[in-house]
């Protein structure tokens, strides 16, 4: 049973590593099976989406969303997640007026369908975003990557040295 869990764990890590590497190489956002995971950094969508939570968004047809959907879109090189308050069609182009649930008015911009990244899937994990935010900091990177890496190397070296010693003892016997 433990070996099964270990193998699944290893497969999962390898899969994540491949996804991360491929996204870094392609320069895009990491996508798993048409989904993206985002950390919500501010609270304009509270109480629907808590600040510091992570949400998943589904990539899809950017012109098929309707009023009331929560969409993630790109404005001025930033990703914003707000609810659609109005859908407009002009010259065959669909554009959306958006509004944060916690805001007192609609946004000043109009989102064209080309700028929409995806739709919120109603799946959220609160507070995980704080941990992720910390993990992406220098201290978090050192704590989660460098220290465990050194420990793993030390452990591996000890295992190798122990194995060599055992072999020498066996040869001596």
């Amino acid at each position: 049973m433990s070996s099964f869990i270990r193998s699944v764990f290893l497969i999962g890590i390898c899969f994540l590593a491949i996804v991360v590497l491929s996204s870094r190489v392609s320069g895009g956002e990491p996508t798993i099976l048409g989904y993206q995971v985002k950390t919500v950094l501010s609270g304009s969508m509270e109480p629907t989406i808590q600040t510091g939570s992570i949400i998943s968004i589904k990539l899809g047809n950017s012109s098929s969303y309707k009023k009331g959907d929560i969409i993630t879109f790109r404005i001025d090189e930033k990703l914003i997640t707000h609810r659609i308050s109005d859908v407009k069609q002009a010259n065959g182009q669909v554009s959306y007026t958006t509004k944060g649930d916690n805001n007192d008015g609609p946004d000043l911009w109009t989102v064209s369908s080309q700028d929409v990244v995806g739709k919120y899937t109603n799946y959220t994990i609160p507070y995980v975003g704080y941990a992720m935010n910390y993990a992406n900091s220098k201290a978090g990177s050192a704590l989660l990557l460098i220290v465990p890496g050194i420990l793993l190397i030390v452990s591996a070296l000890r295992s190798i040295i122990g194995a060599v010693k055992e072999l020498e003892v066996k040869k001596a016997l």
Partner: protein, 276 residues
């Protein structure tokens, strides 16, 4: 002991590394706050004239002044030996430059007036700090200096003198040409007048000769008819001499010949009456 160490250390380390790698697939999004700003009346104040406007006016004034100097320098006094055509062309050119200079001076004065208006406007504004509009005063002073330079260098009176001198030269040349023309016409008339007298006289001579021949045929014996014939021959000789001489003498000869011819004709008439 070693195995427990490995399990205690390795497992959390792997968990940390896997968590870190999992973090890398998570992006960031904002649910940005925004608030509607209520529309209030906003009072905006702006300068009534901007430095760029003053600078543009200054540059225009400088360009106009430069162009006026160039135009004025192109006016050169015509040389006395110039031809009539060249003088006419020079006069036309000077007239055009004069008109252009007047237009340019008008434009320069307009710029000066505009800057003067701005300067007066600043002085009228009591609330405005005058130091704020230093650029207006500076621009006005520059254009004023440019206008004074133009007034000093561009002398319209000199331009008028040049034009009048060219006009007088043209008049002199025209008078000279008219005098020459009249003299030439007189010569031409004089050369044509002897031909006319000869053409008039010839018929009378022919008539007299014809009459003489007729008289001779009718009364060949009469002695009285001899005298006119001698006179006719003398008249003919005189006429021949007058044709070979110069024009003035030919006129005099022609007049004397005509008198002689008249006398001959009178004698012939008397002879005819006597014969009858």
């Amino acid at each position: 002991m070693k195995r427990t160490f490995n399990r205690v250390v390795v497992l959390p380390c792997i968990c940390c590394v896997s968590f870190y790698s999992g973090i890398q697939i998570v992006g960031e999004t904002e649910a940005s706050f925004s608030s509607q700003v209520s529309s209030d009346f906003i009072t905006m104040s702006a300068a009534f004239v901007f430095p760029s406007t003053i600078k543009h006016l200054e540059e225009s004034a400088q360009e106009i002044a430069k162009s006026m100097h160039v135009n004025f320098e192109t006016i050169i006094v015509a040389s006395p030996g110039a031809s009539l055509q060249a003088l006419y062309e020079k006069l036309t050119e000077i007239t055009e430059i004069d008109q252009e200079l007047h237009l340019q001076l008008g434009a320069l004065i307009n710029i000066y007036d505009e800057l003067s208006k701005y300067t007066n406007q600043i002085q009228d504004q009591k609330e405005t700090d005058i130091q704020t509009f230093d650029y207006v005063r500076e621009g006005f002073q520059n254009v004023d200096r440019i206008l004074q330079e133009v007034h000093e260098t561009i002398d319209f009176q000199q331009l008028e003198e040049v034009r009048s001198s060219i006009t007088s030269q043209i008049n002199e040349l025209e008078e000279k040409a008219s005098i020459e023309n009249t003299q030439a016409n007189q010569h031409q008339d004089n050369s044509e007048s002897p031909v006319e007298t000869n053409s008039v006289e010839k018929p009378s001579e022919e008539n007299t000769q014809a009459n003489q021949n007729q008289d001779n045929s009718e009364s060949p014996v009469e002695t009285t008819s001899v005298e006119p014939s001698e006179e006719n021959t003398q008249a003919n000789q005189n006429q021949d001499n007058s044709e070979s001489s110069d024009e003035t003498t030919s006129n005099q000869d022609a007049s004397t010949n005509s008198d002689i011819n008249e006398e001959v004709a009178e004698h012939e008439e008397e002879n005819i009456e006597d014969n009858e």
